[in-house]
């Protein structure tokens, strides 16, 4: 009895507030926009009775929005450019994050707790504020341009804010802890005698790094990359604050379809397709985690 209660309360909560809302998105993505409240047809007609009403409703569903989306250049470009931005910034985050994780794993043991806290601390700070901080730095009259101009490296201010470069910087900055922590966890567990063995067997330090350290931190690297890539793909805040008007990201397109164009069916279709794209990396990520658990256990 008590067990049933324990199971049912969170179960029903998630069914009602997670699954049902998603089914509504799916249903609206199969409907057509209309000048009505709510702004889409068909609607369930209660007068027909429940079952005939549902049958009639389902018979009117079509894939028109999906056809529209795949036929329109704008959406293709938005999905592709989101993928490109997510891939590039994940790679950049790895480039910045790996040396930090590596340094942490090699730091004296008594420093490590503090270093961990220093990596986690920004994560607890408001995401919005961390993105906002870069507006002041990257702007035409921003701190970075002021610095570079006064040093004399450049003659005219660089236009970084409102470009894709600013979006990359924003993603690397905000998601860095997600990259550093799993790699650090993998490196920290590594047995140093393996490196010594490699060097005894004639490896140089560099080749020992590539042949021993990198393969052994592979699961951490993969986990970190997915933890950055998955949220970056659907990112909204960073492209809308740091990106320019030509920065196309699917999260921004969805937002605008819904709030500016009030086209609920197209916004819903954009959401469903985004989810379909995300399923592949999510499954790969789960597999990597599974492998990690098996290795640990």
């Amino acid at each position: 009895m008590r067990r049933a209660f324990l199971i049912l309360v969170p179960y029903i909560w998630l069914l009602v507030l997670f699954l049902a809302p998603f089914l509504i998105v799916l249903r609206i993505s199969l409907s057509d926009p209309a000048l009505a409240i709510p702004p889409y047809v068909p609607q369930l007609d209660a007068a027909e009775g429940v079952w005939p009403g549902i049958v009639n409703l389902v018979s009117q569903f079509d894939l028109e929005n999906y056809a529209f989306l795949t036929g329109d250049d704008l959406y293709w470009k938005a999905y592709l450019s989101s993928l490109q931005i997510a891939v590039v910034s994940t790679f950049l985050t790895l480039l910045v994050g790996f040396p930090i994780a590596y340094g942490m794993a090699r730091a004296p043991v008594e420093w490590r707790a503090t270093l961990m806290m220093l990596v986690i601390l920004p994560f607890w700070t408001s995401f919005l504020i961390r993105v906002y901080a870069w507006i002041g730095i990257l702007g035409t009259e921003g701190y970075l341009n002021q610095l570079l101009l006064s040093v004399g490296v450049i003659d005219a201010p660089l236009a970084i804010l409102n470009t894709n470069i600013a979006v990359y910087i924003g993603i690397v900055y905000t998601y860095l802890p997600f990259m550093v922590l799993p790699i650090y966890a993998a490196l920290e567990k590594m047995d140093d005698s393996l490196l010594e063995a490699a060097e005894d067997l004639g490896c140089t330090r560099t080749s020992a790094f590539w042949l021993v350290t990198v393969p052994l931190s592979k699961t951490g690297i993969i986990a970190g990359c997915f933890l950055v890539f998955i949220p970056a793909l659907g990112e909204f805040v960073i492209p809308s604050l740091l990106g320019g008007s030509d920065t196309l990201m699917i999260g921004k397109v969805l937002w605008e379809e819904f709030f500016s164009n009030r086209d609920w069916p197209v916004a819903s279709t954009v959401a469903v397709i985004l989810l379909l794209i995300l399923i592949i990396p999510i499954i790969l990520f789960q597999r990597n985690e599974q492998k990690q658990r098996e290795m640990d256990g």
């Binding site: 008590r2 324990l6 199971i7 309360v9 969170p10 179960y11 998630l14 507030l17 997670f18 809302p21 998603f22 509504i24 998105v25 609206i28 709510p38 910045v96 040396p99 930090i100 590596y102 340094g103 794993a105 090699r106 707790a113 220093l118 986690i120 601390l121 920004p122 607890w124 700070t125 408001s126 995401f127 919005l128 504020i129 961390r130 906002y132 901080a133 002041g136 730095i137 702007g139 009259e141 002021q146 860095l176 140093d192 998955i230 949220p231 793909l233 659907g234 909204f236 805040v237 604050l241 999260g251 969805l254 609920w264 916004a267 819903s268 959401a271 985004l274 989810l275 995300l278 999510i282």
Partner: protein, 270 residues
């Protein structure tokens, strides 16, 4: 032997400079006299004063704290229940669907979660306001709580619970007097995480809020779209300060508890 090389030292220095400089600049310039945020014109705390007189921000802060408190509290209860069911619940009908639903919100893009909840609230004709934001935040943060709590539940010895049951405890008593004290740190950590996520959330709150329930991130977002302002710098500084104090206190308390537990163990052993 681990060798902490110059390369390691440099990458840590540069890495942490990258992580912290933007926030440090923000904090410094919040004390700037000038309204031109990128030009230093002397020290002043006037923007803090203006911020405290800005009723719109204060109202939004109050809504945010209310939403954060309620959503994280409900999420902690639901998330702990979900974690317990997943780790100790054994088999039950629909278990796969259940664990799928617990993990899915963690990887779901915020825009999709927000859109689906908004369409759902409209479909059931629920007026958008504080209640709908609380419902939305509870739903995604309970999943984070359940991940945090279940990782603790997995690692602790089930035989302690069984011993309590053998000694005549009811399942509820066993949970309250054995399980709960052991998982308490992770439950508290889960609550803090849920609270922070709620305070921080812009996208889902924008979908779930109504005209009368603007949260602080929504307010900040609409202000910073127009550029950098000294008031937002001051507000950011206050928020960064609160988080820093909170995290440092929490980690000191945790360190002390671990040290105390170690001491107890040594005493028990001696």
């Amino acid at each position: 032997m681990r060798r902490f090389s110059w390369f390691n030292a440099t990458s840590l220095t540069l890495g942490f400079a990258f992580l912290y400089l933007p926030m440090i600049i923000l904090v410094i310039y919040s004390f700037n006299e000038s309204r031109l945020v990128t030009v230093w014109a002397g020290f002043s705390t006037k923007w803090y004063g203006e911020l405290l007189q800005n009723d719109a921000f204060l109202d939004a802060a109050w809504v945010t704290i209310k939403v954060g408190f309620w959503s994280s509290t409900i999420a902690t209860v639901l998330g702990t229940m979900a974690a317990y069911v997943m780790v100790r619940g054994g088999r039950f009908f629909g278990r796969t669907v259940f664990s799928g639903m617990v993990y899915a919100p963690l990887v779901m893009p915020e825009v999709i979660t927000g859109l689906s909840l908004l369409l759902f609230f409209i479909a059931i004709d629920l007026d958008r306001g504080v209640l709908t934001i609380v419902l939305a935040h509870t739903t995604f943060s309970m999943c984070y709580v359940s991940v945090v709590v279940s990782s603790r539940l997995v690692s602790f010895d089930k035989s302690l619970e069984e011993a309590a049951l053998d000694l005549g405890c009811t399942p509820f008593d066993a949970f309250r007097s054995v399980t709960l004290p052991i998982i308490a740190p992770s439950v508290i950590a889960g609550w803090l995480l849920a609270f922070t996520l709620s305070l921080d959330d812009l996208v889902i709150a924008s979908f779930a809020s109504g005209p009368s329930s603007t949260t602080l991130p929504i307010k900040i977002f609409s202000a910073v779209r127009l550029g950098v302002t000294p008031e937002i710098n001051a507000l950011s500084t206050i928020m960064i300060g609160l988080v820093t104090v909170g995290v440092i206190t929490a980690s000191l308390v945790m360190k002390r508890n671990i040290a105390r537990a170690r001491l107890d163990e040594q005493r028990a052993a001696g």
